[in-house]
Every structure is written in C-alpha cells, then in structure tokens.
C-alpha cells in the first residue's frame, strides 16, 4: 500500500443521514427493512474499493432528543440488529470490511465476543465492531436492570461530565478488555485432532480470562475459537476528552468530528497525546456529493422543516471539491475518513463512482484491494494471542 493512500469508510444508516433522506425521489423507504437493500449498499461500497462500511444501531429508536423518543412520525424510525445485518451481507461480498455497531451498556461482553468472532468467520476476516455506550434512561428502561440519570445537552462535551458517564465509559473499556481477552483465549493452534491421544484440542492452549471488574466478572474461555483476524477491528466514535480516552485505551480506530482542518489538527494532537500511537484516526463527514448537492440539501431541509445540523461537519459539493477537502484535512494527521452519505444510495454512489476515481487520479486511493482482511486493508498485522507461552 502506498503511504499516500488514505482510508475511506462509509457509515450506513437507514435511508441516509439527512432526516428527510427517505423522502428523496431516489430513496427506497419501503425497502429499508429488507436484506436486499443492505446487500445492494454494501456491494456498492465494495465496488468503490472502500476499506469498510459501518452499520448504525442502538437499543432504542432514532430520535432528535438526547434522552429518548421524540414522538416524530416524519423521520425514519426502526432499526435492525447491526451485527446480523453485517453477517447477512458477508457471504455476498468478498473484500470489504463490515463494522456493525453494538452497544456494551446493557449487553453481555461474552455474547458480543461470540457475535463479532462469528461475523469474522462468516466474512473470512472482515469483521469489526463499533463500540457504543448507551447513556439514555429510556434505553435502560428497555432492560429494567439499572437506572441512568437523564442525559442533558450541557453534558455533551463538558469538561467534567457527570460521574455516571465516566462510569459508563469505564464499563465499556472493561467490556472491550473482556472481548479482546476472549478473542485471545484460544491460541491459534489449539485444535490438534490428535487421534493417538484422543484429544481434539490441546487444553493447555485454551485460557481462562478471569476478568474481574466493577460491573461484571467473566471467567472464559470463549466458546468460539480464535477468529480469523485474531483481533477483529474495534472502533469508536468520540467527540470529547472522555471518549477520546476510551478510544485511546480500547480501540483500533476512532472516528472524530472536527469541523475544519485546524480543528482536525487539534483533535489529532489531543488524541495522540493520550499515548495512542497506533490508533487510526478517521474524521467523520456528512456528505452531499454531486453537481446538484446544494439543491438536494435545500430540498430535504425544506421537507424536514429545519436546516440539517450534525455532530460532524456537513460537506456539500462536487467529488472534486470533496477530494480537495479530504486531502487538505488529511495533512492534519488523519489516517482516513468515515463518510456519512446524506442520501442513500445517491451519495454512496457519488462516493464510489465520483470521489473514488477522483482520488485515484490523484494517486490518493487504492486501485484494487491488496488484502482480503479488514486489518489488512488498514495495514494492521494479525496479532498473536496474548496468552501464547503462558501454559497453565
């Protein structure tokens, strides 16, 4: 891989990231809950040689409110389990990485480790995971096991967030640690099939993980043998110090949301300052791409009744202009970008058929996949199990 090549991912969510995207003439709102819809999107992303797609998820419906449902009926509501969507499209694709979102707050790390391992098997080494924390009271009420205080706007990005949020991220870090230990808990060569001794596995190459934390303890080992990539890719979205710390400690890729090149430089410095030398930093951008991008955006804003705002910067322009922006921002030290298509499939095909050729012309993006695994696309080696050499 050329050092000059940047990494590109797309974030898939519903009909696209603009809340009125489903009303665009190109959208297929009745198809959102079909396998064919997701298969077509991921195939298009693979056609564009992208590193990976992410698939959004949450343990509650989409909402414009921070803390729970907003009662709106004019925006996409409803979601599939993202891990299963990724697994459904895996056999239909060959190279592209598949990174579903999965919440750690109300789920079992043991189950998450198994599910992502399994996705890695189904996709032959293309699995990742976006770790998501749920801080909503309303989502906690879907489980009825814990109370979470109300999330308020002033908490977002606050220098000193309420203690519960530190606790949620500490719990998330514990969950990732458990998952990573479980992935390592079978050494690669644990299956021996030794007819002479009658042993299928060498039990000395399986390991208890014996994790003890504030929220849970997990004994191990995994029930799924070590996945093809060894460690599937762990990713996280982060907007402020607390999640930066979480990402630096736990993730392989962090998605950040600067609004210009200068901010990007500051964010990269802050994240790198946390000791995350090998962490890949991707900037998130919502994108309306094409000659008619400005008009499309205006039309959708009108349909939604408000100008679209986002945590990430919103780009509107031609593929050439987007390529200019990405190459400019990249100089801030970014490894790549996760583009959020405003309308699906329109802005996705504008990325794969407009932006990608433009970047290729500038020798800034691959012309063919060089690797077959997601770690491989990012130039990450397959790590050895941390337990190799530690025999009980």
């Amino acid at each position: 891989m050329s050092a000059a090549h940047l990494h590109l991912a797309v974030a898939l969510d519903g009909a696209g990231w603009h809340p009125a995207a489903w009303r665009d003439p190109a959208a297929a709102p009745k198809d959102l809950f079909t396998a064919a819809y997701w298969a077509a999107l991921v195939a298009e992303a693979e056609h564009g040689l992208l590193d990976f797609v992410t698939i959004e998820d949450s343990l509650g419906p989409q909402t414009t409110h921070l803390d729970g449902p907003d009662g709106r009926t004019d925006q996409v509501r409803g979601r599939f389990d993202a891990v299963l969507v990724a697994s459904r499209v895996a056999p239909l694709t060959r190279r592209i990485g598949l990174v579903p979102t999965a919440v750690v707050t109300h789920t079992e790390p043991f189950h998450l480790a198994s599910a992502v391992s399994t996705l890695d098997y189904v996709s032959a080494g293309r699995a990742g995971w976006r770790v998501q924390v749920s801080g909503r009271r309303t989502e906690a009420a879907h489980f009825g096991r814990r109370d979470i205080p109300e999330l308020r706007p002033e908490h977002i990005g606050a220098a000193e967030p309420p203690p519960v949020f530190r606790e949620l991220f500490d719990e998330a870090a514990d969950a990732v640690e458990v998952v990573r230990r479980l992935w390592d808990s079978w050494e690669d060569d644990a299956e021996i099939r030794d007819v002479a001794t009658g042993r299928f596995i060498d039990r000395d190459r399986l390991h208890y993980i014996d994790f003890e934390g504030a929220h849970f303890s997990v004994r191990g080992p995994s029930i799924v043998p070590r996945p093809p990539q060894g460690q599937p890719l762990v990713t996280a979205l982060a907007h402020s110090r607390l999640p930066y710390e979480f990402a630096a400690r736990s993730a392989d890729v962090v998605y950040v949301t600067p609004h210009d090149a200068e901010q990007a430089r500051a964010v990269v410095a802050e994240v790198r300052g946390l000791g995350a030398e090998t962490l890949k930093i991707f900037a998130d951008l919502v994108v309306f791409v094409g000659e008619d991008a400005r008009n499309r955006r205006a039309r959708l804003d009108e349909l939604d009744g408000a100008a679209y705002t986002s945590d990430a910067s919103i780009f509107t322009g031609t593929p050439g202009e987007l390529a200019d922006l990405l190459l400019d921002w990249r100089r801030a030290g970014l490894d790549g970008f996760r583009l959020r298509p405003a309308v699906l499939p329109t802005d996705l095909s504008a990325i794969t058929r407009g932006l990608v050729p433009e970047l290729q012309r500038r020798d800034a993006f691959r012309r063919a996949y060089r690797a077959s695994t997601l770690r491989g696309h990012l130039g990450l080696l397959r790590p050895a199990s941390r337990y190799v050499g530690s025999r009980r």
Partner: protein
C-alpha cells in the same frame, strides 16, 4: 397421510460427532455451515438447527478435550446462512437465562426479516452457576424458577414482536409519515421483567418466529404445551415416542390449543448402507469412532462420578460404587444424565458380565444412539411409520460427520420419502411456519 417434517442439526460438541474420521471437516468455518444448509435445502428440509453452549465443559476440573469443541454464535451464523439459502428455515438455540427479552427479540425479529420469514428460536434455560460465571449476573436463577422465567421471557418477546402493527410502517414520502406515533410502544410488568419503551424492529414476516422447546421435565412439557410451536424431544423410539406424543397432545388440549399446533420432533441419528447388514457394520464403525478408549473412561466417570483415569479402557468395570453425593459433580457444563447412579451401575455391571465386555465395549453398547440403521428403504419406512403412527411429527436429524454427514441421507432416503408421497418435492411456501403447516401469525 401425514407429511414428514425434517430438520438438519449441525453436528454438536459431544462425542456423537466424529472428528477422527478423515472425512471430518471444520466445525467452525462458514463453509461447513453452508455445506450442511445447502444440502438440507437441496433435500427440501423444513429447517436447519443449531445447538448452543455458553461455557466449555469441564471434567475432573479441567476443560474437556476429547470432543469437538468450539462453535459460532447461533443467530449470527444463521444470518449468514440466510444469504446462501432461499427457503430453509433457520432455527437457533438461544438461552433465555443469559439474555434479555429486548435484545434477543430484536435479534430474532431481525433474522426473520433478513431471511424473509424463516427464523426459529429453540428456547433453552440454565440455572447453572458454572455457566453464569461468564455473565454479568452470574448464576442467579433458582432451578425451580427457570421455566417460570422462560415462559415470561417468551411472552415478553411476543409482546415486543407485536409492538409494531403491520400498518405502523407507513413509509409514504408524499404524506411524510414514516411510522405511526404508536409504533413499537410496549410495557411489560411481570415477576421477572419490568420493562417499557419502544421496540425498534417493525413487524417481521412471521410476526412470531417459530419457538421450539427442548426440556423434558414436567415443567418443560408444560412450558412447551403452553407456548411452543415445536418440541425437540429425545423420545425417538416408537413406543416411548407414542407415549410422549399422547402426553403432549393432552397438555396442548388442556391449554386450549388446537391439535397439531405443537409439532413433536425427536432428535435422531442414522447409519446407512446398501443393505441392512452393511448399515449395521457402518453403525458399529461409527460407534467405535465415537467412543475412543479415552472417551470410554470419561463417559464411565460421568456415571461413576469419580476419577477413573487409572482404569484400563479394555479392562473390567470398577469394583467401587459410584459417588452419589449431590453436591459434587465430576462434570460441569452438562446436565446430569443418570437419575439413579447405583441402579444404572448395577445394570451396566450385569450387562458387562453377561456379554463379557470391557469398559470401552460396554460404553459402546450402552451409549449407542443411532435411531435409524439400515438400507435407505428401511430407514425411509421406519421414519414414515413413526410419523404415521404418531410417535413423532418428524425428526431433527443429527449427522455424525461435519459437514457432509447429511449428503447420503438427502441423496438416498429423501427420494424414497418423496416417492411415498409423505415428503415435499418442492417447497410450497417460503416461511418456516408455512413449511410446518402452522398458522402464519403475520
């Protein structure tokens, strides 16, 4: 004539699955799952079935190392199989003890959408603190409560599945309504779950994906009669199958359900040959592979509940009696198999003496489990006879080999069942409920 129901069980993690055979492939690569699922679909099977486990078994305090071990997350691998099959039902065993209704209902409903109405859920429970060591809450559930919780779990899951009416998903770009204001609203207040809010998955093709139940206790049978669509039973032989069938039918009626609304599907293994004699030889060969000398000792230990590693697998049974203490089990992560250890041990001793069997040969004799041994014609006839005589509604077939263990059955037995007019030659429906002739709740 009753139509036979057939399901394909991916070979499990026990000594029935032979790994020492040169034809034995990977138990974890997706290609193995694809092969078995496509074979089952080629044979027009009703569904594909996956077992589950959440903790590796231990014996004598160490991880059990003699059997096939290592398996995928059920729902995740089935979602992948939905991409490489078109009609085959996809049923996952998922534990109701170590999951929560909201998350699991989402995952099963998602699979039902992604497979076009082919999802099934085999509900199992666990009260096992050993398995609980891998989960947040640990072994928190008293044994007596497990079906109570399971029943409330299933009920809650169906409430979640019902939280979207078919018309709640509008998606009309002209009027600008995507979903109704009520879409997904639910509230459940019960003994085990007190939850409320909004469910994120619209009504799925089957509305209620198929539920299967596998426990055999009185509580398990009641649970099945009250809520399940199918039972994965262990009563495959004609006489006991008929007794079980009558028992369940009475319970189903007592719950006010229609006859035939609960399908009874014993697990079954098979050994085929061109002639009956050849099949018997094949069965004997499989049994010897299933019970290696080391496995023989471990299986004996499971009855004796003692470390018998010093015994010769070819030698006689131990003189010493089984350890019957309740609180100490030599095996962990597997349900107890023997109710009265001393009685069973006495029977085994008598049998060993009578037939002059050493430990391994005795174990082969007493744990042999092939339900159907014979030529394809004989096996087809026995399966059909079991179904027509109400010993079963069909079978969940458990091949002894991964992943090719079903090939011969599909090539040789299925056509004979089709010739008899008791098994479909083409799928008539696209949903799992449709295949089983159960009302599609959608």
């Amino acid at each position: 004539m009753k139509q036979v129901i057939l399901a394909a069980h991916f070979p499990g993690v026990n000594n029935q699955t032979v790994w020492s055979d040169p034809a034995s492939g990977s138990q974890i690569d997706f290609a193995s799952f694809t092969h078995l699922a496509r074979t089952a679909e080629r044979g027009r099977f009703d569904f594909f079935f996956l077992a589950d486990g959440q903790r590796l078994r231990e014996q004598r305090g160490r991880i059990h190392d003699l059997d096939v071990v290592g398996r995928p997350d059920s729902l995740t691998v089935l979602s992948g199989l939905a991409a490489v099959t078109t009609h085959l039902g996809l049923a996952a065993t998922v534990n109701a003890t170590f999951n929560e209704p909201y998350d699991l209902a989402r995952r099963i409903a998602t699979l039902d959408h992604l497979s076009g109405g082919r999802a099934g859920w085999n509900v199992v429970t666990s009260s096992d603190a050993f398995t609980g060591e891998n989960f947040r809450r640990g072994g928190y559930l008293d044994h007596s409560q497990r079906y109570e919780r399971a029943e409330e779990f299933v009920r809650t899951t169906r409430e979640l599945w019902d939280s979207w009416a078919a018309e709640d998903l509008v998606a009309d770009p002209v009027t600008g309504t995507f979903a109704t204001r009520e879409a997904g609203a639910f509230a459940h207040r019960g003994t085990h779950f007190d939850i409320g809010g909004r469910f994120t998955v619209p009504r799925s093709p089957q509305r209620h994906p198929l539920t299967i139940q596998a426990g055999d206790s009185d509580g398990g049978r009641e649970f099945a009669a009250a809520t399940a669509d199918a039972i994965f039973s262990r009563h495959g032989r004609p006489a006991e199958g008929q007794a079980f069938y009558r028992d369940i039918a009475a319970r189903v009626a007592a719950h006010g359900r229609a006859p035939g609304s609960l399908k009874i599907l014993p697990g079954a293994t098979f050994a085929l040959g061109d002639t009956d004699a050849e099949a018997q030889e094949h069965a004997d060969h499989i049994r010897r592979q299933q019970v290696s000398p080391q496995t023989a000792i471990l299986l004996l230990e499971q009855l004796w509940n003692r470390d018998l590693s010093a015994y010769d697998p070819e030698g006689p049974l131990p003189e010493i009696d089984p350890d019957v203490s309740e609180d100490r089990s030599i095996i962990k992560g597997r349900a107890g198999m023997y109710r009265d250890r001393l009685k069973t041990a006495a029977e085994w001793r008598a049998l060993a003496e009578q037939k002059r069997l050493g430990i391994r040969d005795l174990i082969i004799e007493v744990t042999g489990r092939q339900s159907f041994i014979g030529s394809p014609a004989r096996v087809a006839e026995e399966i059909n006879e079991s179904v027509q005589s109400d010993a079963a509604d069909g079978f969940i077939l458990v091949p002894h080999l991964t992943p090719t263990g079903l090939d011969e059955f599909v090539d040789k037995v299925v056509p004979l069942l089709q010739e008899r007019g008791v098994f479909r030659t083409e799928y008539g429906t696209t949903t799992l409920r449709g295949h089983l002739g159960l009302e599609n709740n959608g």
